[in-house]
């Protein structure tokens, strides 16, 4: 079980180099910007040679992680150098095992038993149509499978440092190494402080709106002749307010106490 992914980086600010780490939940603040670690994965280094042994393709290709054990999916496109255009699609397993179903799977995200499994297609990669294509997608509609599912040849199985021949004598593929990649996001957000201020205001306003009861109180004083003054109290609440009665009663009580004190003082 993986407990953490750390990106150790060196930042250069005003010619001062600082080493620091970035991880999820712990972004790095640099010069008013924030750098987030969004993801990481593996980028296999692939070398392809023609039948004569000359290198026609050499690239480091990011494979996109599909699960927490970093089983990764990627595409290799070789438009030039071989007798036909070659496209390959496959999975990279950092720690490969075979499941009970017979299918391969990665059981750990570190490189304990790295295996690259590739299906091979030949035909038209569709790169000359002038329309930009995703490097992560292989359109096989105008291609013929020559290894892997749909053919009699097994998918290519590559481990680091081994070269495997391509079917039909096209050449060979070698997994020369595996590099890691990480994706970062750089954000500049000057509104953060204000966001926090307004979030608190919203919460405060909501609390005030919900918990402070709205009441209206009327007091009517009428001359009751010999019996003195009649003071009447009335209260109206917005919605349910079980404390209205006791609050009005308390107000009346308070008035009574003060008026009595006033009466006692009057004769002087």
């Amino acid at each position: 079980m993986v407990t953490d992914y750390n990106a150790t980086v060196t930042t250069d600010q005003a010619n001062r180099q600082t080493r620091s780490t970035i991880k999820v939940n712990d972004p790095l603040a640099v010069g008013g910007d924030t750098i987030y670690l969004l993801g990481n994965g593996y980028a296999p280094q692939i070398t392809i040679r023609n039948p004569q042994g000359a290198v026609v393709f050499k690239d480091t290709i990011p494979f996109l992680p599909q699960d927490t054990n970093l089983t990764s999916l990627g595409v290799v496109k070789v438009p030039d150098g071989l007798s036909k255009q070659v496209g390959m699609i496959g999975f990279f397993y950092p720690t490969q095992t075979t499941q009970s179903t017979g299918l391969p799977a990665s059981v750990y995200p570190d490189l304990l038993n790295p295996v690259l499994s590739l299906r091979v297609f030949t035909g038209d990669l569709g790169l000359s149509s002038g329309v930009p294509k995703s490097v992560y997608v292989l359109n096989t509609s105008r291609m013929t499978p020559i290894a892997g599912r749909g053919t009699s040849v097994n998918a290519l199985r590559l481990t680091p440092g081994t070269a495997v021949p391509l079917p039909n004598g096209l050449g060979s593929v070698e997994l020369t190494g595996v590099k890691r990649f990480a994706s970062f996001q750089v954000t500049h957000d000057p509104t953060q402080t204000w966001m926090l201020v307004f979030a608190f205001l919203i919460l405060g306003g909501l609390a005030a709106g919900l918990f402070i009861p709205r009441r209206r109180v009327w007091v009517r004083i009428t001359d009751d002749g010999d019996r003195g003054w009649l003071v009447e109290y009335a209260g109206l609440a917005r919605g349910d307010d079980p404390r209205l009665q006791s609050i009005i009663a308390a107000l009346a009580q308070q008035h009574q106490t003060t008026s009595k004190t006033a009466t006692n003082r009057e004769p002087q």
Partner: protein, 339 residues
């Protein structure tokens, strides 16, 4: 015999469930007693009376006769019931005992994991149920709401049972995305809000039954109708329950609003954006909207009572969906069930 904390935690949780189950039987017996025709439940009915305070002193010239008129009729949340049913007292005592054992189980899980015990669905289940019962017991101090026991403990047992059997996972270290102080705040507040919503669900459901008791009971047999009527007479009327549900929901709503905000702040820290339309984010927002609609409905004439109660029930159904279905079956950034 020495037990590891995680095993001891499981033993305690299951023991608590057994005692809750006995408490549930006692709560049910208490309800049955309320429905019984003999030993009438007419005792202690403290219906609120219009209180008139004031002193009549006709001699003094400035004497004030105080009349209190209250326009909005308020009803105290006191319960008109026979407060001393033995089954009810036993049920409450058993609930307290089960709750303490349950709480010990939750604490031990935290000890076993060396972190807060709410990082996956199993832990969320055991901790949020301990909060539900905790708040239920806390409310007993001010209000006699023992009549809700059957519903609350029953609901809680279902959640705890499903959580323990269906969602159980061994103690595992935290995945990177959860390693943050926000886990403590965001999830704890979310669980407390869920607990308030669960209680309001119980109150609203009872409110609907109470509000329709005449209409529905008519369709049933005479004996049953009489029993149901007697039973429902021992619990507060629909209006009082309505007020009670509203008060519970506004607390839950405040906490839920905070959950949503804290979640956005955490999301910004972890993933670099406040809001990303992740399934769980969307469902949390949907729940917020439903309860906001409930509060709005209460403020609008004509939507009080049963209709608002149905909204509260829909709200809790959405809470359950968000927890039980979204976490397990939808792929999103909040898939921490560990299943």
């Amino acid at each position: 015999m020495s037990l590891s904390p995680s095993t001891a935690s499981i033993v305690l949780i299951y023991s608590a469930m057994a005692i809750y189950a006995i408490a549930l039987v006692a709560y049910t017996l208490d309800l049955a007693r309320r429905a019984a025709p003999l030993r009438a439940t007419a005792a202690a009915r403290n219906s609120p009376t219009s209180r008139t305070s004031g002193v009549d002193d006709p001699a003094g010239p400035s004497s004030a006769t105080t009349v209190v008129m209250v326009a909005a009729e308020s009803q105290a949340l006191t319960v008109r019931e026979s407060s001393s049913s033995r089954a009810g007292r036993i049920a409450l005592a058993l609930t307290v005992l089960a709750w303490l054992i349950h709480l010990a189980g939750v604490v031990l899980r935290g000890v076993a994991a060396h972190r807060v015990p709410w990082a996956n669905m199993y832990e969320f289940s055991i901790t949020s149920t301990v909060i539900i019962v905790g708040i239920f017991l806390l409310m007993q101090i001010w209000l006699n709401i023992r009549y809700l026991g059957t519903f609350v403990v029953g609901l809680m047992l279902v959640l705890l049972g499903v959580g323990s059997v269906g969602f159980y996972v061994d103690v595992t270290p935290l995945p990177p995305a959860l390693q943050s102080a926000w886990l403590v705040i965001h999830v704890l507040v979310a669980m407390t809000a869920t607990a308030f919503f669960a209680l309001s669900f119980a109150v609203s459901a009872l409110q609907i039954v109470q509000g329709r008791r005449v209409g529905q009971a008519r369709r049933w047999g005479n004996t049953l109708r009489a029993q149901l009527t007697r039973l429902l007479k021992t619990v507060p009327d629909a209006e009082t329950l309505d007020t009670m549900a509203y008060r519970i929901i506004i607390v839950g709503f405040m906490l839920w609003t905070f959950t949503l905000m804290a979640g956005a702040i955490w999301a910004n820290r972890a993933w670099g954006r406040y809001w990303g339309w992740d399934v769980k984010e969307v469902w949390t927002f949907i729940i917020w909207v439903i309860y906001a609609a409930y509060i709005h409905a209460k403020a609008t004439r004509g939507w009080n009572g049963t209709r608002a109660a149905w909204l509260a029930i829909v709200g809790f159904a959405a809470v359950m969906f968000n927890f039980g279905v979204v976490n397990v079956f939808f792929k999103g950034l909040h898939s921490y069930s560990g299943l």
